[in-house]
């Protein structure tokens, strides 16, 4: 008899998710669905607000990476004003963004994912958390806390507040960086760098123990999308949006952000509040593409900082020019954290970082604009339309996790097919299904602009839709 498994709550992710696994008559997995279960409605309630309020409003979408929303939003607002922001302001924004990626990647790797990696997917769920890591691997847990603190403290030093600062404004930033603060951040950089180096070394040593996960965690060819520099270098704050096919060939490049609409459309899913963006030329659902650290390292051929450049070369040597396993998101995250720390050093050592001209002023000069940047979890798109007076008429926000929606669904299906046997949910399978979702570091509260407790819910259903088993973490 065909059946249905439900995992009611996915834990250690940002937001709510539920997974349903449908079994066929022979007990094999017929299909899976990842449900994102909340909606918040930001795109609607901003209508009528002055456009320059958008950064502070959209930053409230997320408490983990508000900087990403702030930056995507101010970039869209820069384009509404049709200004080129002062060079110092662009450097300061990139510096802030690097600090944000360091803290977010530290949170994802150390706090959310390391319990699976260090304590084992089949270990006691009650102890499989950051406290368990602190007991078994105290140095690594302390490193994680210290690295996240470094990122958060840098945000505070630059922007005045750790969460939802008001420093980044349309046209630039609202205050220059003084030399004392620059020196303070520089003095903390070596420790942060040594933590990332140490963690990378540890992870590379441990990765051979995860061959099964590498082979079965969302390991399938998809398209990839990420910002790159003009020569294919890793870029996080700005660049051109490049789409790459599974073989590593560039299939499209968006230079004018407004043109993203020619390549990305969003499908609406009946079972989830999270829309499913797809690459238009390939159609739906074949046009599934992935974003985020894995995609960025696939799309970018090189990295312009020395140590991260060497790590990227080694990564590509190990897994080929295009790596498809979602498990490698963790590895890619560490390479990026190293890039960000090095990039921060480069930016801080450039004399123009303390320049005093940091803001361009202008009114409404364009009625439609798009801001694209690489949030920690992938490409983030803010698309605004305003009237002549600057009041918001329409907005579309495509959040990093949204881009990965189709791929996450496929990853869950792959893991379920590999691990589900029979009509109950084995504990190890529950953990692995949760872990594969977690590998994408999904920010579901952002991507549906939802709110709620982070949990996972898995449902096992028969073909008639009858509930057979349900587990939540």
């Amino acid at each position: 008899m065909a059946k249905k498994i439900t995992i009611p709550h996915v834990s250690r992710i940002e937001g709510h998710a539920k997974i349903t696994i449908h079994l066929d008559d022979s007990g094999e997995v017929a299909g899976t669905q990842l449900h994102v279960t909340q909606v918040r409605g930001f795109e609607k309630f901003i209508e009528g607000r002055p456009f320059y309020e958008m950064p502070s409003i959209t930053a409230r979408i997320c408490g983990i990476c508000p900087i990403s929303h702030l930056l995507a939003s101010v970039k869209a607002c820069d384009d509404i004003m049709a200004v080129r922001i002062p060079e110092t302001a662009a450097c300061l924004r990139e510096l802030l963004h690097c600090a944000q990626i360091v803290q977010s990647h530290a949170l994802s790797f150390f706090h959310l994912s390391s319990p699976d990696l260090l304590l084992g997917m089949d270990s006691d769920p009650a102890a499989r958390n950051v406290i368990g890591v602190l007991e078994k691997h105290p140095q690594l847990a302390k490193d994680g806390i210290a690295l996240r603190k470094f990122g958060q403290q840098t945000i505070e030093r630059l922007a005045g507040e750790r969460v939802h600062p008001s420093w980044t404004v349309p046209g630039g930033v609202n205050a220059p960086l003084d030399t004392g603060t620059r020196d303070l951040i520089l003095s903390d950089l070596p420790i942060a760098k040594s933590i990332v180096r140490r963690t990378l070394k540890f992870f590379k040593g441990a990765i051979d123990g995860f061959q099964d996960e590498i082979a079965n965690f969302g390991n399938f060819p998809t398209l990839y999308a990420a910002l790159t520099g003009p020569n294919g270098e890793l870029r996080l704050y700005d660049g051109r949006l490049r789409f790459q096919d599974p073989e590593g060939n560039t299939v499209a490049e968006v230079v004018d952000p407004l043109e993203y609409q020619h390549y990305i459309a969003e499908a609406t899913l009946k079972f989830s509040y999270l829309k499913a963006p797809y690459y238009i030329p390939a159609g739906y659902p074949q046009g599934a593409y992935r974003v985020g650290p894995l995609a960025r390292l696939n799309v970018c051929g090189r990295c312009l900082t020395p140590e991260a450049g060497a790590e990227l070369a080694e990564y590509k040597q190990r897994f080929g020019p295009v790596a498809h396993s979602a498990f490698l998101y963790h590895y890619a995250r560490l390479v990026e954290a190293l890039y960000c720390v090095e990039r921060m050093e480069q930016l801080l050592e450039d004399p123009k970082i303390t320049g005093k001209h940091v803001r361009a002023q202008a009114g409404v000069n364009a009625l439609e604009a798009v801001g694209i940047m690489e949030a920690p979890r992938g490409t983030l798109i803010h698309h605004y339309k305003v009237d002549e007076q600057g009041a918001m008429r329409w907005a579309n926000l495509i959040i990093a996790t949204g881009h990965n929606n189709l791929a996450m669904n496929r990853s869950v299906e792959q893991v379920a097919r590999h691990y589900v046997r029979g009509d109950t949910i084995p504990e190890g399978m529950l953990n692995r299904v949760s872990a594969v979702v977690r590998a994408y570091d999904p920010c579901l509260s952002c991507s549906t602009h939802a709110m709620g407790q982070p949990e996972l819910d898995v449902l096992l259903l028969d073909p008639a839709g009858e509930l057979l088993d349900r587990r939540r973490t």
Binding site: G48, R49, P50, Y52, E53, P55, S56, I57, R60, H164, S166, V169, P170, N174, Q361, G363, D387, Q389, G390, A391
Partner: protein
């Protein structure tokens, strides 16, 4: 010289000119009575009711700004009862419209917010009414956001009494009351507005703001407008 009268404020004997309000007398005595609609130099309207005081022998609270001081009065400006009512007034102001401080241009520079902090308003007991209100962005330099308006009418008075343009007014009644420009026209369409910006500077919240400033950036200078109003003799 105007005739002098004597009143007691919180037990202290104060001599003020006849015709002064209780609020003037209290200010002269160094008392800081909370108020949002009052602005020195403009006429008093008693709109916000935050300056309510207790008057010996009178069973109800009276607004200090519109109650004339009378010889021999004994006034209490600080008491548990007054604090309770003042907090309640602030809570009702917050519940009436959509005051979202975290995304407001006047965050950290707002008189309403500062007063709430001063009086210890830590939560709002009343159900928020969440009215659907618009922002008028039609003026090239300024913006009116009804969500943040507390109907103190400082803008109405400063425009009429100091600038002499009388662009602003209040229409409708009760919770339907709205600040209107001319005869309910978009601000940008007003023929009377001189774009002097005095209304913006006088506004205690982020309801009237200069365009282009982001969250926390709109620090206003009501004292300058008030000083100008006093010099010009526009009000009391």
């Amino acid at each position: 010289m105007a005739h002098q009268i004597s009143i007691r404020i919180d037990g202290k004997l104060v001599k003020v000119s006849a015709g002064s309000s209780i609020l003037d007398a209290a200010l002269a005595a160094g008392k800081d009575i909370p108020a949002l609609c009052h602005m020195k130099g403009l006429s008093a309207v008693g709109a916000c009711r935050l300056c309510v005081v207790e008057l010996a022998g009178v069973g109800r609270l009276l607004p200090a700004c519109t109650t004339p001081a009378a010889d021999g009065m004994s006034v209490t400006t600080v008491s548990q009862k007054l604090t309770k009512y003042r907090r309640m007034i602030l809570e009702m102001l917050f519940a009436e419209r959509n005051h979202v401080c975290s995304v407001c241009v006047s965050n950290n520079h707002c008189e309403l917010q500062a007063l709430a902090a001063r009086l210890g308003v830590t939560n709002v007991r009343f159900a928020y009414s969440y009215p659907k209100l618009s922002a008028d962005t039609s003026h090239p330099r300024f913006v009116l956001d009804h969500n943040r308006c507390i109907l103190c009418t400082r803008c109405v008075r400063v425009c009429a009494e100091l600038e002499g343009a009388h662009v602003w007014d209040v229409m409708s009644r009760g919770t339907g009351s709205r600040l209107v420009c001319d005869m309910n026209q978009p601000w940008g369409a007003s023929k009377g507005c001189t774009s002097c910006g005095k209304c913006v500077q006088a506004c205690p919240t982020g309801a009237l703001a200069e365009k282009g400033w982001c969250v926390e950036e709109m620090a206003k200078q009501p004292a300058r407008v008030s000083r100008l109003a006093v010099i010009r003799g526009g009000g009391q």
